[in-house]
């Protein structure tokens, strides 16, 4: 008997997914999260696993974890007091950022207060040019002076970010060594070591965020490691990374830039795995919780990756699973403005006090309350009995709005649902145009506590191909950690024109990156299994100000065929932007490499297909499309693979409720996914 465990700790709940390697089955579990005492939710969970499923902690062979501790540190602004060392005369890199203000029409709009205040930024006399040549040697005295001042002003860590350090990191390394000599305990982070990309603000903010969250992440992970040890769990703790891979927690404590989006990435990885297994090529994952609604594009099981993901008010520029926020989730509050127009959000009741219908003290009408009023919620227990739905409280919360609007409470509730849906429609439409995709060929994979509640309705508005609800939508993030591979990104900046002469340089850089990557995998991660290396290049037409990541055929390069690179770029440019200019000069900005060390995979359980329709548990009256209708209520556990039935219907299960609209056909596939497709009339 052996078990693999994935845990995802969010704001309200900690979700557990356990894979039984012998029986090939998955167990899930939800416990309240304990932000006050990190690690104790894991103790609670492990205890419950033993009680509920008889799982012996000593039999756990693998333990991964997705966490939001890093991102929360930035949002709550309770990270380290940092000092930043920059090149002299360029100390305002954080103050200026990229200039643009968040709210362009507001004369009082300000960019967010930098994470390092200006008195903690020190210019160091040194200079390297764009080719990496030293123009001004590092002046030792200016380092000492800056260090003394930083220490005197209470710096708890130092970030070093010099101009063109992506090209020549020597000065950053020298300063780091000087500091280590004088203040060996002081954490030092170099921009060139964090993520060595060109563009000084982007590289600097990435290193600053990594340094800023580091002590909290370290404390948190250490507490968790201790808790695991105390419960008898022996395997080394692994973390999900922003790039959708995993790494050891030990490394995560040092490389925080890599794990800051750990929590969000896990869910998308889980969704990608479900999509791939279920044969869904094009998929939009929809993760709606109490306080957030996020979407991601997944093609052939691979999430879309990007740089510049938001961490609170700031962006971070390491390659990450690209997740777009499209709203504030089920807790968004509805209100009527002074002109009598009904609005939803952006204020949210959050997880505390939460929606009125939870009876936890919330009085404001939320999206969740609107669903409760319409009769979709409260038909079965929710959240592993952690929450009960009081429909009357929801009605009381919405009634004042209904009076203002001179509508019935149900009409008002349905309008709230439609406004929330239209706002998500708007966010997704922007994404569709940004990436040039056709949603008609996409499935909506809905998860999170509120995803299944809104997924089918949203897919209907967006004219998507189908909606897929996995068997355990509430714990998909925990599942994501279980199937993620060891994965790391490497980059090397070339910034040169692409011509025949650059072949040796390219091959040389790729070879060096490959050595680094293997060292990471074999030595730092102690992985002796299979691995795969993916090569790519960031290129552009000369004159463009942004790069396009282009897949590289390394064999062609090693054969000496440089023309392949240009061909691949034109192809990629046409694919993404709709046009290519095969006559134009190309610039090669960066070479990239991803190493993936495969972890043991488990197969999602496959079930025998039965035939026929499930029998509804009961029928309930629910307000849908402007009237009360009698809807079949199914319990998820009664749905068997192979079952076929038709909407409208409600499907209740422990961790969520699925709403199936009219004119749809529902099938349960061999993985026990609910698949909802529009019925053509």
């Amino acid at each position: 008997m052996s078990y693999r465990v994935g845990v995802d700790i969010g704001g309200s709940f900690a979700d557990f997914a356990v894979f039984d390697e012998n029986r090939k089955t998955i167990h899930t579990l939800k416990v309240f999260s304990r932000p006050d005492s990190p690690g104790s939710e894991v103790l609670d969970g492990v205890k419950l696993l033993r009680e509920k499923y008889g799982i012996d902690p000593e039999k756990i062979t693998y333990f991964t974890h997705g966490t939001t501790v890093g991102i929360n540190t930035v949002i709550q602004r309770n990270g380290l007091k940092l000092a930043l060392f920059t090149t002299e005369n360029f100390t305002d890199v954080l103050e200026l950022a990229r200039l643009k203000s968040p709210d362009m029409y507001n004369l009082l709009s300000r960019r967010p207060e930098p994470l390092v205040s200006r008195d903690m930024v020190f210019g160091i006399r040194e200079r390297v040019d764009a080719l990496g040549t030293v123009v001004t040697p590092l002046e030792h005295a200016s380092v000492i002076q800056a260090l003394n001042a930083a220490l005197q002003q209470g710096a708890e860590a130092i970030v070093i970010s010099f101009l063109h350090a992506y090209r020549n990191a020597a000065h950053e390394q020298q300063v780091s060594a000087i500091i280590r000599e004088i203040a060996p305990e002081l954490p030092v982070i170099c921009s060139s070591a964090t993520w060595p990309i060109i563009r000084e603000y982007e590289r600097t903010i990435t290193a600053v965020i990594a340094a800023y969250v580091q002590p909290r992440v370290k404390y948190y992970l250490s507490s968790l490691q201790k808790a695991l040890k105390n419960t008898g769990i022996r395997p080394e703790l692994h973390l999900t990374k922003s790039n959708g891979g995993i790494m050891t927690a030990e490394l995560g404590k040092e490389q925080c830039a890599q794990m800051i989006l750990s929590g969000t990435a896990s869910g998308v990885i889980g969704a990608g795995y479900v999509a791939k297994t279920s044969g869904v090529e094009k998929c939009l994952s929809l993760d709606i919780g109490g306080t957030s609604a996020d979407v991601a594009i997944i093609l052939n099981g691979q999430p879309h990756y990007d740089v510049g993901e938001y961490i609170g008010e700031f962006q971070i520029f390491v390659p990450s699973v690209s997740v777009s926020s499209i709203g504030e989730g089920g807790g968004s509050i509805a209100w009527v403005d002074r002109f009598g127009v009904l609005k939803v959000g952006p204020t949210s009741a959050g997880s505390s006090p939460g929606p009125a219908c939870y009876g936890l003290g919330g009085k404001k009408p939320t999206i969740t309350d609107a669903f409760a009023v319409c009769g979709f919620l409260g038909n079965a227990t929710l959240g592993y009995s952690a929450v009960t739905i009081d429909r009357e409280l929801a009605r009381q919360a919405i009634e004042p709005l209904a009076k203002q609007l001179d509508r019935s409470i149900e009409q008002t509730a349905e309008a709230i649902i439609h406004i929330a849906l239209s706002s998500m429609y708007s966010g997704i439409s922007a994404l569709v145009s940004r990436f040039g995709i056709d949603l008609g060929a996409f499935a909506c994979l809905a998860f999170g506590g509120a995803g299944p509640m809104m997924g089918c309705l949203l897919a209907r508005d967006l004219k998507m191909k189908e909606t897929l609800i996995p068997p355990t939508p509430g714990v998909l993030s925990a599942l994501g950690g279980l199937i993620a591979d060891l994965k790391n990104d490497f980059v090397s900046i070339l910034y040169r024109d692409l011509d025949e002469n650059c072949l040796p340089e390219i091959n040389d850089h790729f070879n060096r990156l490959e050595v680094q990557a293997l060292d990471w995998l074999r030595n730092e991660q102690a992985h002796d299994g299979e691995y795969e290396i993916i090569f790519s290049a960031d290129m552009r037409y000369r004159g463009q100000s942004f790069e396009l990541e282009t897949p590289v055929d390394i064999q062609a390069l090693r054969r000496g065929d440089i023309t392949e690179l240009a061909r691949a770029f034109h192809h990629e440019h046409k694919k993404v932007y709709g046009h290519a200019d095969t006559g134009a000069d190309l610039q090669l900005i960066a070479l990239r490499l991803i190493i993936v060390g495969q972890t043991p995979k488990f197969e999602l359980p496959v079930f025998e297909l039965t035939h026929g329709a499930p029998s509804a548990e009961t029928r309930v009256s629910a307000w849908l499309d402007g009237r009360y209708q009698s809807l079949a209520l199914y319990h998820r556990s009664a749905l068997r693979p192979g079952h076929v039935f038709y909407g409208p219907a409600i499907i209740a299960q422990d961790d969520c409720t699925t709403i199936v609209p009219d004119k749809t056909r529902v099938t349960i596939d061999k993985y026990a996914n609910i698949r909802v497709v529009p019925e053509l009339i």
Binding site: N89, F90, T91, D92, E95, L96, R98, L99, K100, S101, D103, M104, Y105, N106, L107, L108, S109, R110, R111, S117, R118, D119, D129, A130, V135, L163, H164, Y166, I198, R199, E200, Y201, E202, R338, F339, G340, V341, L342, K343, L405, Q411, A415, H418, I419, S422, Y425, S426, S429, A430, S433, R434, G436, Q544, S545, F546, V576, Y577, G578, H579, D581
Partner: protein, 662 residues
Amino acid sequence: MSMDQTNLQILANYCAAAAESMGWTLMRTAHSTFIKETEDFSCQILDVEGRTVASPKTMGATWYTGLDYGEVLRGLDYEDGDIYLTSDPYSGSLATHTPDVHLWKPIFYDGQLMCFVGCHVHNTDVGGAVPASLSRSLTEIQQEGLRLPPMRLVRNGQMNEDLLNIIRRNVRLPEQNLGDLNAQLACVMTGERKIYEIIERFGPTHFLSGLEDLQSYAEKQARAIIRTLPDGDYSFSDYTDEDSVNGYPMRIHVTLRIRDDQIELDFTGSDPQLSSSLNVPTGGKEKHSLALIAVIYALYTLDPSITLNHGLTRPLRAILPRGSVVHAVEPAAVGMRSLTCNVIQTAIFGAFAQVLPDKFPASPSNGVSLLNVKTQSASGRMIMASLGPVGGGAGAGPNNDGSEGCGANMSFLKNTPVEINEAEVPIRMLRYGLVPDSGGAGFYRGGSAVEMSIQVFTPEAIVTARNRDRCVFTAWGLLGGRAGGASRFSKVSTAHQTQELGSTDVVKCDPGDILTIIGPGGGGYGNPFARPEDKVRTDVLRGFITPKAALDDYGVVLTDKLDIDQAATTQVRASKNQSELSLFGHGEGRTVFEQIWTPERYNILTQILARIDISWRHFIKNKLFDVIKTHPISAESGVVDVINAYNDLQKSFPNLPVFALI
């Protein structure tokens, strides 16, 4: 679905979705960096009359909210599938300089015209006398490149090849222009698809009425805000340093008339149409977006929940005198109208500051120089590159210091990384950062200016700095706040000769020359001597101000270790008379100028100019300035000096009319 107050937000979200989708499509498929990086574009959903119902809120240029295509749309014959365009500032006042190409597509449903979708992009070059088609020195629109009157681009799926050939023959980078034109086509096609989704959801009748409902909602929001403003007339003037190359200052004068829930903006008293390219071709349209955008900023600042569409302009009306700089007539050059637009904005902000000084900020810096360099690579290849904007911060507001380095009416600007500039162009950046003591002093401090210093290494390098301004007339402070710092532009040669360049916008450089631009700072807000002492000290510690400024401008005495010397500070601050807080804190440049050119003198100047033929106006303005500059100044406002000077000129130029003035 029926349309009412309960469902209006759903339609608003759907229209926002259509507009954002159009914007993303344009950005994604555009060829030129100008669109992708600078985001100088707009796109909109227009009702059948051509009024903007929705536009993207987080991307593109902000100045075109409430754009009205009406005049150019009317009188054209439309079929399903047609696409039209124009770039002529003198055909319906839609395009406001020649690089802006506006495109629009009628949307039909069951044979009925439902709405239009439109967009515009700023093309990097449209031909004409100078590369990039824009220069202060140009005097007629014909020098500013290709002008396309409203005409059809597509019918029955066929592109108008004749038109494309004309474009190819007249611009410097035809592939880029045509590439961007394709992006615009993709943009309106996306718009059409999204509109069909909306019509299918709401039905054609509700869709049509919904477009009106959304505008009427915005109108109600605007009126509700305006009703909270005290009725009255509020006048304000702001200036540019030069009205042409090495010219005299130019004044924008505005009178804001608030009556119940309506606003009138009267630009009478502004400068005449100029023989430079600083003119704004509004066509005198009372709801022109370039005349009203500052009011929309003001309304949004008071209530950020307002709906950004043409409905906001219903309670607004601008009076734009014909033949003035705010209503130039053909063939006036208009390429650099953005500099004048900035001054229009700060003049309007100044008027609003009098209405509610506790709600509005001091003047933003304005005078953001857009730096470009033309040089060559080591291999001799010609390089033209934008180095980014160099300006200054926002004016301080009633609750906060001004945004540093950029903000307020310039919030949409993005900079170019130092590392990219150095990798692309054979120059070295010597400094890029904020300038101490440049933000106007105040209880809240104005946003600091930016300094950029570069060294060039190739012969014949040419640096252009579009929109140079604010070397003399600096950003005003409010309610006791001081003016922001002045802009400076200088060149230091290898022989250590320093040359002050002022508002020069084209500079030829030799190898080794160092160019430094210091932007202007934002104005301060409130009494600087009341700014909390620890905040003043923090500003010193953070290098936003020097210890000397802490003492001189804020009355805070710091010890050598930068601790507050409490006793000395109390004494210094007590000695400052805090009871006389002037509403506006003008800088020295303006104060000195207005001693000679008092508001009364300038008023009579503009009155005289308004009464002579348009073609004479700038010439006579210059002549009168020449005279007044050297003339002994009479007492008080000196209106009579100006009249006498005109009468003398009239004797020399008998074509000028004779007035009986005063």
